[in-house]
Symmetry: C2
């Protein structure tokens, strides 16, 4: 990171595995400073955040709520990793927005809060316009692979008729909560029922589709979402689960929609234990068509934490409000370089002799 | 495109093949209106732009310069396709920036004008701050494949140590000026000499590297650029050139740099007649590493024109100034949706029975 930027003060809200990992990444970056934590668990209140996260040095304390933290330290940014529901997350974040703080959240539904919590989103946006606050939902999925990356690729198309995304994740090496949310070890019927109740499966999938549609200027009349359990044919043992034949080893989830103007979006996610051929694949049909494959896929939990933390300077570079991944800049480095920062470069072609020969 | 956005008035500056193609795309989009053209060729002055571009309907006239066009129509945006040099392009664009107009340019060096024309860029930025004008350089390469796409992919990495990009273009089916700039039919020594003079080869390559470095916050002390002619082993005939064995059939151009903090960027471009295996490949080394392959590569001239036109709403959504591709939003649709625009969606999982069976 450039040393010319000022240090951004960050507090961590939610001290589960992802939250602690995010706090460690904040502490490791020299453009950010970790100034404290917030968690509703009373047994953590008052403890050293550095100790809880296994960090050297001082990172402030854990507070019960934002008001108590804000009395001691004035954070510029809150990293929020404490829920999947847009309305609940906005509720938790309201005092921070009232204080004009910027919030980067892993809450899946906040990727496009206008879908499931339009009133809460409108209210939050109103607060931000008044206070200068900002709130953004992001991550790897939702937040990158099946929404931001496809939108990025359409940038070179004069027309787009269909957007398809496919992601295959081998869940065997992922954390316990992820193996649980994909139904590992459950009866397939029970898992399907749990998903219908909104209590299992991949969250924020409709939001990925609607973020794409929004960025493309497409009106989607109806979104279809479906999940089928992937069933084990033989026993699978992971660190966390022992799955017997006939039990669920993961999910195949699809979301699709058609614009009133005819364009279609189809997103396909397979996430199961021992899934072969991990990859991400994006196909833009249009003029020109563009297809792109990420070999092995974008890795899970490390990348999720990175996606959150990388958005901190990007969000601060955007206007106040309820922000979307498609309306913040790709980089937080948005200031034009000062004259002195420009390195002097040798003239065009000065090193013409150093390259190895070309074999075509 | 959504019909809720207001129509943006666009004039085309430069009526070569790319300019005319861009004008046609503007005319085809219902969020944009083509209001006139500018070209220094006096034989075009006063002619119907629609006639020159082969369009139906009215698209205004061709003017000799911006002042004359601005007397008749007040464009919101100028599409500028009239040069490769940053200093010259900024000179041409100064009157438009003084009028507070936004400019999207195909000028390769404008991708990062702080490299070769820092004084002119600073002056242009100053004008924009005063008038509300904006200027942006973009395209497919530079502008997307070897700069924006790699920066996008780093969004999920907690650390990046190296960025590599590779692009292979089969030039046989491309327009005559492109076949010419890659040296088709030239003596390899003459072509190499011409490139050293800055008169041939791929323009804006150092700018791609420096845009990446800027977005990553890396200080690059030195940039190395090299070109080797690719020599024909047998005769190659295209629509425009007849290349004999021993003559140049294209180029292999490399640009590389190392940050003062150790990270490296290496971009490799092969663009020659009958090149096999067209593709783009991006490799981010870091934690996690991410590699991505665009099969067949992002197609040339259609995509270039699309990249320019797609940036019009995106640039207008950004702050005034000399803008970079990494500091404008990915989509021009940045307003939060009005309540009535939100479609009502069925509950999670409502269409559980419509999907075909899953075969894993």
């Amino acid at each position: 990171m450039s040393t010319t930027r000022s240090i951004i003060k960050v507090a961590q809200f939610g001290l589960g595995p992802i939250g602690k990992s995010a706090a460690r990444l904040v502490a490791a970056r020299d453009d950010l400073r970790l100034v404290g934590g917030i968690d509703i668990n009373p047994s953590l209140t008052g403890k050293s955040l550095a100790e809880i996260c296994g960090l050297q040095g001082d990172a402030g304390h854990v507070y019960r709520n934002f008001a108590q933290l804000a009395d001691d330290v004035r954070p510029d940014v809150i990293l929020h990793t404490a829920g999947s529901r847009a309305a609940d997350s906005i509720n938790q974040c309201r005092p921070m927005l009232e204080a004009g703080v910027a919030i980067v959240s892993s809450c899946e539904e906040l990727l496009f809060p206008w879908h499931r919590a339009p009133e809460a989103a409108a209210e939050a946006d109103g607060i931000c316009q008044r206070t200068g606050g900002r709130i953004l939902g992001t991550g790897v999925n939702p937040g990158f692979v099946l929404d931001l990356l496809p939108v990025c690729l359409t940038g070179v198309c004069r027309e787009v008729t269909a957007i398809r995304g496919q992601r295959v994740v081998n869940a065997s090496l992922r954390r316990q909560p992820l193996q649980k949310k994909i139904g590992s070890g459950m009866d397939p019927g029970d898992f399907r029922a749990l998903w219908r109740e909104g209590k299992a499966g991949h969250a924020g999938f409709q939001e990925s589709l609607l973020l794409i549609a929004h960025a493309m200027g497409w009106d989607i009349a109806e979104v279809e979402e479906n999940l089928e359990p992937v069933v084990a044919e033989q026993r699978i043992k992971t660190e966390h689960f022992d799955v017997l034949p006939g039990q669920t080893r993961g999910l195949h989830q699809i979301v699709q929609g058609r614009a009133t103007t005819g364009q279609t979006i189809h997103l396909d996610l397979k996430m199961y234990l021992d899934a072969p051929d991990q990859h991400d694949f994006i196909q833009i049909e249009g003029d020109p068509s563009v297809s792109c494959r990420v070999e092995n896929g974008v890795a899970g939990d490390i990348a999720t934490v990175a996606a959150l933390v990388n958005c901190i300077p990007r969000l601060l570079a955007a206007r106040p409000g309820v922000r979307l991944m498609t309306d913040i800049p790709l980089s937080g480095v948005t200031k034009v370089p000062a004259r002195k920062e420009i390195a002097k470069h040798p003239p065009h072609g000065f090193l013409n002799d150093v390259l190895p020969p070309i074999y075509d």
